[in-house]
């Protein structure tokens, strides 16, 4: 089912980008969480916007490299000239995508829990800055875990959609075009909607354009269960699109 050498090859091809984005995200998170000046903006800026943009960039670029770019350049011919089933190849690439994104959020979670243990965040102020009122007490590890889980599920949905486009198209330009448009529109609309929640009501409608709406850290802060329903919806998007991408890749003609 899994090809270890191919997993290594994919890791080599995407390792640098992943490392850079993970380090940048973790550093930003640590800074927002540790410095008093930025603590109040932790939810609004970091979890509201950055937690979608940075993984989004990684997802966009790495997904294209899984299939479409390798078919376009012809380099997939080398893997396919060995006795590996297409389904094995697809499954390996899928596992790499899910694994690398999960690891990214796992690192963010651990970093945040670590920093938070040192300088616990007062939820009243930070919540209010993000438009969440009526909460109090300190940020707990459980809340951090839930927020990151919610973000992870939405990123997997984005990854699924990009994986699907990479599996469908033989040309990089289409794969990166459709995948990039999907991630770009989602992330930017998410940002516009954030301004909406700050008082410009019209902009709030942008949330309907973005899959990031399924990521709901506010519900977690308020203690409601909305985020679970939305998370399941994101997971369904991920499973469906990963499946479509895999099946298409296994059945289509490859110009190699």
């Amino acid at each position: 089912m899994l090809s270890l050498p191919l997993f290594k090859q994919t890791t080599k091809a995407n390792g640098v980008l992943w490392s850079v984005l993970t380090v940048v995200s973790a550093a930003l998170l640590a800074q927002f969480a540790a410095l008093e000046m930025t603590q109040s903006l932790l939810f609004l800026i970091f979890y509201g916007v950055m937690a979608m943009i940075l993984p989004g960039v990684y997802i966009m670029v790495s997904s294209n490299k899984l299939f479409a770019s390798q078919i376009d350049r012809g380099s997939l011919a080398y893997v396919l000239s060995t006795p590996k089933k297409r389904s094995t190849i697809a499954f390996t690439q899928l596992l790499f995508s899910v694994g690398s994104i999960t690891l990214l959020f796992l690192i963010l979670t651990l970093v945040h829990i670590g920093v938070n243990a040192h300088s616990p965040l007062d939820l009243t102020v930070a919540g209010a800055a993000a438009g969440v009122y009526g909460i109090s007490g300190n940020l707990t590890a459980a809340i951090i875990l839930k927020i990151n889980l919610s973000a992870l599920l939405v990123c997997l949905a984005m990854s699924g959609v990009c994986y699907m486009f990479s599996g469908i198209f033989n040309l990089s330009k289409f794969s990166i075009g459709f995948g990039g448009a999907f991630v770009g529109i989602s992330v930017l609309s998410n940002m516009m909607a954030m301004f909406g929640s700050l008082g410009v009501d019209v902009l709030e409608n942008f949330k309907y354009l973005s899959i990031c709406t399924l990521y709901d850290y506010k519900s977690i802060l308020l203690g409601t269960d909305d985020w679970i329903t939305k998370g399941i919806a994101a997971l369904i998007v991920a499973v469906v699109s990963y499946t479509i991408g895999t099946v298409t890749f296994c059945k289509k003609d490859l110009p190699l």
Partner: protein
């Protein structure tokens, strides 16, 4: 039971519309033979090979590799195949060393001695980054990757692209070695020379149609060798043309002659190799001022025989 054919193509059609594609291909590649596929760019060579590798699926017909369906069992057939792709872009893994390491892991290769032997023969610096390698260097990497596997069948899509003449000879040598070991080689090319040096059977294709399939034995007996004779006198020139030659009795001399020039007292004619003795015996009756023979070549064969057949 020992299988007779390594590759069988039955009624294979892939229509890409607007006249592109391949149409009703039927041929077999016998076990242990070197089979050449010759055609101009866009004639369908790569499309044929993609079907053999199970990368694409024909509209109709099928391809069998060692008795297995190339599309349905595309993973299984790869254990028999060493493949050089037509496009030479490598996975994004860094240096040549990294690439060959991963490739040998994918192939499940344990013994690296033959790989290292090939690297020496092709004189590759595998520690160089793949992206910075020249076209010829990349091609040599691709050749090593294909030949290092212990395959039964080698499928090579224009394997000599970008190679210098010395390396092309090394490649031809390698193909002949594989043939001597009883392996099957299928190669496409638009260069007659390399096919001529190696192939037992050559198939010519054009615009997606098979034009002709030539076995080496048949090719050597067809009149394709061009001899140019210059006679010493007008008299001899005329006498030769009028004489009832006993060689090739069923073919009139006029059909063998491709060029006459009374002013230069010169005649050019095409003969099969097998008739040379008779031809020279004949000529000994005349006084000759000049004699030349154009090199034996498939290209010549293609232009004089195959293209004539098309018309």
């Amino acid at each position: 039971m020992e299988r007779e054919n390594s590759i069988e193509v039955h009624n294979l059609t892939k229509d890409y519309k607007k006249g592109r594609g391949i149409f009703d291909f039927n041929f077999e590649v016998k076990k242990g033979e070197v089979f050449g596929l010759i055609g101009t760019n866009g004639s369908g060579k790569t499309t044929t090979i993609r079907h053999m590798m199970g990368f694409i699926h024909g509209d109709s017909g099928k391809v069998n590799i060692n008795g297995l369906d190339a599309w349905k069992d595309s993973a299984k057939i790869k254990q028999y195949i060493g493949y050089v792709p037509g496009q030479i872009d490598f996975p994004d893994v860094g240096t040549g060393t990294d690439f060959l390491k991963i490739q040998s892991e994918l192939l499940g290769l344990r013994d690296m001695s033959y790989m290292n032997d090939l690297i020496d023969r092709f004189k590759i610096d595998i520690t160089a980054p793949l992206r910075r390698m020249s076209k010829g260097m990349k091609q040599k990497m691709a050749l090593v990757a294909a030949f290092m596997s212990d395959a039964d069948i080698y499928i090579l899509d224009e394997p000599s692209t970008g190679l210098d003449p010395l390396m092309r000879d090394t490649l031809i040598q390698l193909i002949l070695e594989k043939k001597a070991q009883g392996k099957t080689v299928f190669m496409s090319s638009h260069i007659f020379k390399e096919v001529e040096d190696t192939c037992d059977t050559v198939m010519f294709i054009r615009n997606g149609h098979i034009v002709n399939l030539v076995r080496r034995s048949q090719f050597e007996n067809d009149p394709h060798e061009a001899f140019t004779v210059t006679f010493a006198s007008d008299n001899d020139y005329k006498r030769y043309l009028e004489y009832d030659h006993y060689m090739l009795k069923d073919v009139p001399l006029n059909e063998l002659i491709v060029n006459k020039n009374q002013k230069n007292k010169q005649i050019t004619l095409n003969l099969p190799m097998s008739q040379i003795n008779e031809f020279l015996k004949d000529l000994s009756e005349y006084s000759i001022a000049g004699f030349s023979n154009e090199a034996f070549s498939l290209e010549k064969y293609y232009t004089t025989i195959v293209e004539k057949m098309e018309v």
